[in-house]
Amino acid sequence: MTISLRALLGATALCALSGAALAETTITVATVNNGDMIRMQGLMDDFYAKHPDIKVEWVTLEENVLRQNVTNDIATGGGQYDVMTIGTYEVPIWGKQGWLVSLNDLPASYDVDDLLPAIRGGLTVDGNLMAAPFYGESSMVMYRTDLMEAAGLTMPDAPTWAEIEKAAAAMTDKSKDQYGICLRGKAGWGENMAFLTAMSNSFGARWFDETWHPQFDQPEWKATLDTYLHLMNEYGPPGASNNGFNENLTLFQQGKCGMWIDATVAASFVTGKDSTVADKVGFALAPDNGLGKRGNWLWAWSLAIPTSSQKQDAAKTFIDWATNKDYLALVAAKEGWANVPPGTRTSLYENPEYQKVPFAKMTLDSINAADPTAPTVKPVPYVGVQFVAIPEFSGMGTTVGEFFSAALAGQISADDALAKAQTAVTDEMTAAGYIQ
């Protein structure tokens, strides 16, 4: 073999090797359109600098459409998505079905023990971490400090429902279009039922007993709904049965709500540049009734890998980058600490810089006050604070939400709404085989 021929062969082999080394793996990430996710898409240069061999393609969809498409894909083993953005409702269900890849083998630098215990618990199935939290949230009371002061009241850090009612009464002045309390009324399992299910925990209510029998005919649910309707009818804004997160946010930002109990993520909006009351907002834990459980929920948008993905290693690399401590530092450096995705890591809340963010402590306390594995006073056979992690819940939750929304609109009584809920859920659970 001549020298030139050997050189040619060598060069060809080198080219082939370098080509293989530079081969790009493209992963498809399905996500929702929210501020934190959009921010991450803007910081992808950092990921590409560290992992030039992985390209990320985004599919951004509205939450319900995303849920439908991702469910279709995962249930049929389609493999169209390599990373999915899913919530704490899906993780236990899909994890049990064997649809998600365990993330137990993320590198040590990921520091899984740094994850907030409540969030980690909601994403763990049979001891395996099935999704990595991107941001976590709970719910809390956001209130107007100036109106409380004018009424001669002080909001405790951990109020009771009786104290909330007293404050709502004192801050209501309907002639000035000022309402003591704004709560979700729009029907939906993720709308009014997220709030009401979390609220019911503080009254000792539960969706099901240990044998999956619905509990809407029990006094705890009656007390929950009566209190909610009383608060909203006496001190709430008109047309509240159509109000969801966005409508209440607008009302609060415009100074029309004395209190608003909703997602902790709203804290940055009510104190942000679009709020007319930004410098007059205080925070408190969601109320309780002295039964040991508060009316706050727990949610985390998390990144998971479906077992149908053909590119699981690249997907894990991406998830590690997007949810580790370095990413939080990256966001802080580029966008400021207030814009760091909250509610996932203990170390974030130990950071002196982050502690300066006004709602940081209350967010952490709220998250820690929720326990998805023991959400209410009595024992339950399910996981989930403001939902029941079974596939049938989304349909049932929306049905019950429609009854409760109708009660708020004055179309039916509270007793009728509870009776209808009991019948509908019993029928559904019987049909699904939970009740024999």
Binding site: T28, N33, V59, L61, V65
Partner: protein, 276 residues
């Protein structure tokens, strides 16, 4: 005898027509105005039709955050492709139904139309699985076939109605002159039905352009058209209305312009055969 139209009648009719047109157009107008508002103005309570702080910032952000030309091109290929393929199948089908009807032609037409009566979600899983197994998922070819099949009953029905208006004697005369079947359809029937074919084409391009259920369900990144582009700006908690409106305006603008320039053809085609 034609009835005389008094100025009062004309005024009432004109006012009524403008009122109906405004009511129909109002949501689109609202969307366009919202796209030029800031986010707080877009969700102000009570709602404001006109804003104090107009901005084009939403368009800048929507453009910079997504690959609009790719979504646009996919929409063009999918809507035109599905319509042209549908016409190629529907013209011979409508010809046979109009000029050589069988005993069951009416039943066949009704059956075709009945497929439009089923909610799309009813066949979601079978369609999804078929697309996956056949390798059609997230491909333009897959969507061209899906939308063609979805709109085929409408195309056949529209063409059938137009063809029925054409006297069969003209086709017979062509046959007497020795025209083959192919020549009869291509050189005699088609030119006479141009207004009808054109309006069918335009209407089905619009239907395919605006289709959102299948185009979002059966795509991820490669074949996603403008409907998916809009969906990507819809936020989980209803935030970012102004940007969503900007994305929606950008998505409907091409088809709105097409409709505007071809409205004469569209109306002529749609009213073809309405008056004998």
């Amino acid at each position: 005898m034609a009835r005389a139209v008094t100025p009062t009648h004309r005024l009432i009719a004109t006012t009524a027509a403008w009122t109906v047109a405004l009511v129909i157009f109002f949501p689109v107008l609202w969307m366009i105005l919202t796209s030029f508002k800031t986010e707080p103005s877009a969700v102000a309570s009570p709602p404001q039709l006109f804003s104090a702080d107009w901005t084009t910032e939403n368009y800048v952000e929507v453009w910079s955050r997504s690959d609009y030309p790719r979504f646009f091109w996919n929409s063009v290929v999918i809507s035109l492709g599905s319509t042209l393929l549908g016409l190629a199948i529907a013209i011979p089908a409508a010809w046979s139904m109009a000029f050589v009807p069988g005993k069951r032609t009416k039943d066949l037409l009704m059956w075709m139309l009945s497929t439009k009566m089923m909610p799309a979600v009813g066949v979601l899983i079978p369609m999804y699985l078929l697309f996956q197994r056949l390798g059609l998922y997230d491909t333009k070819l897959g969507l061209v076939l899906a939308l063609m099949l979805i709109n085929l009953p409408i195309i056949v029905w529209m063409l059938y109605t137009y063809f029925k208006e054409i006297p069969g004697e003209i086709l017979e005369a062509a046959r007497m002159d020795g025209a083959s079947l192919w020549n009869e359809v291509l050189y005699v029937l088609t030119p006479m039905a141009v207004p009808g074919i054109a309006s069918t084409l335009l209407l089905n391009v619009i239907l395919a352009w605006n289709e959102a259920f299948w185009t979002i369900t059966l795509t991820t990144t490669k074949a996603a058209p403008l409907s998916a582009f809009i969906a990507s700006f819809s936020a989980p908690q209803g935030l970012f209305y102004a940007k969503l409106s900007a994305a929606s305006t950008m998505a409907i603008a091409p088809i709105l312009i097409l409709g505007w320039f071809s409205q004469k053809q569209l109306v002529r085609g749609l009213t073809f055969g309405a008056v004998k």
